[in-house]
């Protein structure tokens, strides 16, 4: 039997791990039974490290020791605008480091971003090991298609630090297309619209049976669901300022509460027309009187707030279609990826732009991990094959005189590829040349991402123009750049893994590996798969939401007050009033439909409204994860009535009890 290799979607907000077993791609849920794990780490006082929703729940109380959205910082220089923006909105401390790099300071310890990402990867690896009951070494990790070389290298370093052999770095939209088309013998052109937490990517692909050719990919690395949250935060903060004269943005704790509520409200609006945002005691007056936020928010209001962001995504789509040489009506399908694509107005806008209904059937939060798992399986098992012909998202350039950067490999050129340019010396007796490499779309070198520079010398001293140096640029199938310089006369070579300006040196990686800090990640133990089904059934004991009932959310524990309370469409229509629902409920009928022998995708606790889709996905899996020609699934009444408004912490407690009762030590990671 072939070795196990997993697929990991390392997301800005949430991450997901999947594996291919018995011909089906399956998501491996975490200890809480959730399909995705928050990409958040928390460093506790005793030095232990928490990853996931438990850490995220702490964000409100302990923003200084909780690191989220680290993916936005990976491979970035300290001086970059992205890092400046992150500094303005992050509760944790970002400090400069050598080589224009950056570190995050938590409890007097400095962490590099690859190390933070490695902790998330380690958690996912542990989840996979416990679910599979065997060690996992190999993985395919996905990255946004528009990631540059610095970001890809840093992500690969993160994999290494986490103790993973990264078989391949796969572009997220390509992974989604693979999940859609693998094993179906399709001959189609498709677009993948990937609106993630922090990035937007659009890829146009041509699928020819087992070959997946990316025709073009375009993106915006700083546009995502987080920006939707920011718009909501701005709205609420401005209103609060106008009403109470207090700027919540200057209060880190209030800001975290606001962020948390904004994100919850956005998620809730994926299934409800209106939510009520309630943040009791978000701050206090000078005399100690608590001030609160209480406001209804309609989905249309959010749609208007983010209209310009949506338009920005379609401008990128225009570019991608044009570069692929296709028009919208040439496409046989549109695949949605990323949590924000659940918002009804996003789906509508996408449908209008592409003039067709997007494909339905797989959870947009899981499709990338499933695709990565499929690819991982094809890489370790020679009986299965899928050939991914991807492109480089950014033009590769070389610095020339006058502050300019000349194109060597244009963007959207297929990879792997190698191109050679000849250079001659410009001065008599010149001893060395400096080769500077950039990625980006500007003629001005300063407007591109600097990948690095290296000196090449040791050639014959001669009059100018007498010495020719061949510089070879290679982009491999991972999208990673290598540059080699050769003296044509002596065949003397100098090559470089382009030393990234802000990345980790080999020495630093070795040191991080020696320190083994990622081993401080404490993963909750998970029972073996079959038992987990039972446990999940147990914790999700059906409690039907009664629209007229007094909301348990409001009556129950205090933290629930901070959560927005949804007004489900159907229930609201019937009752004519907001009808908040019970946390994380599953309607009884839904549960009975669960195939208990199907030990794969468990209902996600945090997103219960999608559990039906999850289960369907696991059953269909490799036969085709997508329901061709089907419209976006109409929400049933039962699904609409479900909205998780519980706090993550309380959720864990109930799940933890059931799960840890099980004794299946073989599934646990050795101490």
């Amino acid at each position: 039997m072939a070795e196990i290799a997993i697929g990991i979607d390392l997301g800005t907000s949430n991450s997901c791990v999947a594996v291919m077993r018995e011909g089906a791609a399956q998501v491996l849920p975490n200890a809480q039974g959730e399909a995705t794990t928050a990409s958040v780490i928390g460093v506790r006082e005793d030095g232990s490290i928490l990853v996931g929703n438990l850490a995220k729940a702490n964000l409100i109380h302990d923003p200084k020791h909780t690191i989220c959205s680290a993916k936005r910082l990976i491979g970035r220089a300290f001086q970059s605008p992205e890092v400046k923006k992150a500094k303005a909105i992050s509760g944790y401390e970002i400090v400069p480091a050598e080589n224009q790099g950056l570190r995050i300071r938590v409890r007097d310890e400095l962490f590099s971003i690859p190390e933070i990402s490695a902790m998330i990867l380690r958690e996912l690896k542990s989840i996979a090991e416990m679910r599979l009951g065997q060690p996992v070494k190999k993985a395919v990790i996905t990255v946004p298609a528009n990631f540059n070389d610095n970001q890809r290298q840093a992500t690969k370093d993160a994999g290494r630090i986490a103790g993973l052999d990264v078989l391949r770095m796969l572009n997220e939209p390509t992974a989604a297309a693979l999940a859609y088309g693998f094993g179906r013998g399709l001959s189609q052109k498709v677009a993948v619209y990937d609106l993630g937490g922090g990035t937007f990517d659009i890829s146009v692909l041509e699928i020819g049976e087992d070959v997946f050719e990316v025709l073009s990919t375009c993106g915006d690395t700083f546009l995502g669901g987080d920006d939707f949250d920011d718009r909501l935060i701005d709205l609420l903060a401005e209103e609060f300022l106008a009403k109470h004269g207090t700027n919540l943005r200057h209060d880190p704790h209030a800001l975290e509460k606001l962020k948390d509520s904004a994100e919850r409200a956005k998620k809730a609006l994926s299934v409800a027309d209106e939510v009520e945002v309630r943040i009791a005691g978000i701050t206090a007056k000078v005399d100690g009187t608590p001030l609160s936020i209480e406001r209804r928010l309609g989905v249309q209001e959010l749609a208007v707030l983010v209209q310009d962001l949506m338009q920005r995504t379609f401008k990128v789509c225009d570019e991608a279609l044009q570069q692929a040489g296709v028009v919208a009506r040439d496409l046989d399908g549109v695949i949605l990826v990323g949590g924000p694509t659940r918002l009804p107005f996003v789906r509508t806008a996408v449908r209008n732009y592409f003039q067709q209904e997007p494909k339905a059937g797989v959870d947009p939060d899981q499709v990338v991990a499933l695709g990565a798992a499929i690819h991982a399986a094809t890489l370790v098992d020679t009986r299965q094959s899928a050939y991914l012909l991807d492109v480089t998202p950014l033009s590769l350039r070389i610095g020339v005189a006058g502050g300019l950067a000349e194109t060597v490999i244009e963007r959207n050129t297929p990879v792997p590829i190698e191109q050679t340019r000849a250079f001659t010396t410009t001065q008599d007796g010149q001893e060395k040349v400096l080769i500077r490499v950039y990625q980006g779309e500007s003629r001005a070198s300063s407007e591109n991402e600097a990948l690095g520079e290296f000196e090449f010398g040791g050639f014959r001293r001669a009059a100018r123009g007498q010495v020719t140096i061949d510089v070879t640029f290679e982009i491999n199938a991972d999208g990673i750049v290598n540059v080699t310089a050769t003296d044509r006369e002596t065949d003397l070579k100098a090559s470089t893994r382009i030393t990234l300006s802000s990345g980790l040196s080999e020495g630093e990686i070795e040191q991080i590996l020696d320190e083994r800090r990622t081993e401080r990640v404490k993963t909750q133990p998970i029972a073996a798969p079959r038992e987990v089904i039972g446990a999940v059934r147990l914790v999700t004991t059906p409690v039907r939401a009664v629209p007229e009932a007094r909301p348990r959310a409001a009556a129950a524990a205090e933290p629930l007050d901070e959560a927005p309370v949804a007004k489900p469409r159907a229930a609201a229509a019937r009752a004519g009033a907001p009808a908040p629902v019970v946390p994380g409920d599953f309607a009884e009928d839904d549960l009975l439909d669960v195939d208990l022998d199907n030990e794969v995708v468990l209902p996600s606790r945090s997103e219960p409204e999608y559990d039906e889709e999850l289960i369907d996905a696991s059953i269909e899996a490799s036969a085709g994860l997508f329901d061709d020609g089907a419209d976006a699934p109409e929400l049933t009444e039962a699904e609409e009535g479900l909205l998780d408004t519980s706090s993550d912490a309380s959720l864990f407690e109930s799940a933890g009890v059931d799960l840890t009762e099980d004794d299946s030590p073989e599934g646990e990671e050795p101490a």
Partner: protein
């Protein structure tokens, strides 16, 4: 598995003679092959030489295969694009190298297009008018303007071809 297995000696041999093969020979397509044929050939070659398809092979073979894969991508990038392909064909016709760097292909295509548009300001001006006439569907005016353009540049092959094409169409 769809992959056509090549013997190790064949892979090494192919890697050795890469610089002697032109892009058509490498992809096994005829010089006049359509873009669809080129794409089919690229897919077929990828099934053989994609790095992912050959992970199980020994290192030295993987190195050879990686070289071939990169050249296959290059060949496809040139032959699928009519502008680049024309530049490549001109190079082959003049006995040049079997490789054409993509940036060079772009630059050469730009030069050639500029030449097609005319070498004299008047030639370019009347050629542009003829194109505008055609956009409006006024073939008679286009014919007049093309003829005028030709009086300024009697040797311009592109003008002449266009004129002949128009005459055939207007009959």
């Amino acid at each position: 598995m769809a992959q056509a297995e090549l013997a190790p000696t064949e892979i090494h041999a192919l890697a050795r003679i890469l610089d002697e093969l032109d892009y058509y020979g490498l992809l096994h397509v005829a010089p006049g092959a359509s873009v669809a044929d080129v794409k089919r050939a690229y897919f077929a070659s990828s099934r053989c030489f994609h790095p992912d398809a050959n992970r199980h092979l020994p290192d030295d073979l993987q190195v050879a295969i990686a070289r071939i894969a990169k050249r296959v991508t290059e060949a496809y990038s040139v032959l699928r694009d009519p502008r680049r392909r024309a530049a490549y064909d001109r190079r082959l016709a003049t006995g040049g190298s079997t490789r054409l760097q993509l940036a060079e292909a772009e630059a050469e295509a730009d030069r050639s297009e500029l030449q097609q548009r005319g070498q004299t300001p008047q030639g370019r001006q009347y050629f542009a008018r003829a194109e505008a006439d055609l956009q409006r569907g006024d073939t008679a005016a286009a014919l007049r303007n093309l003829q005028t353009a030709l009086t300024f540049e009697p040797g311009n092959e592109a003008y002449r071809r266009k004129l002949q094409e128009l005459r055939r169409r207007s009959r």
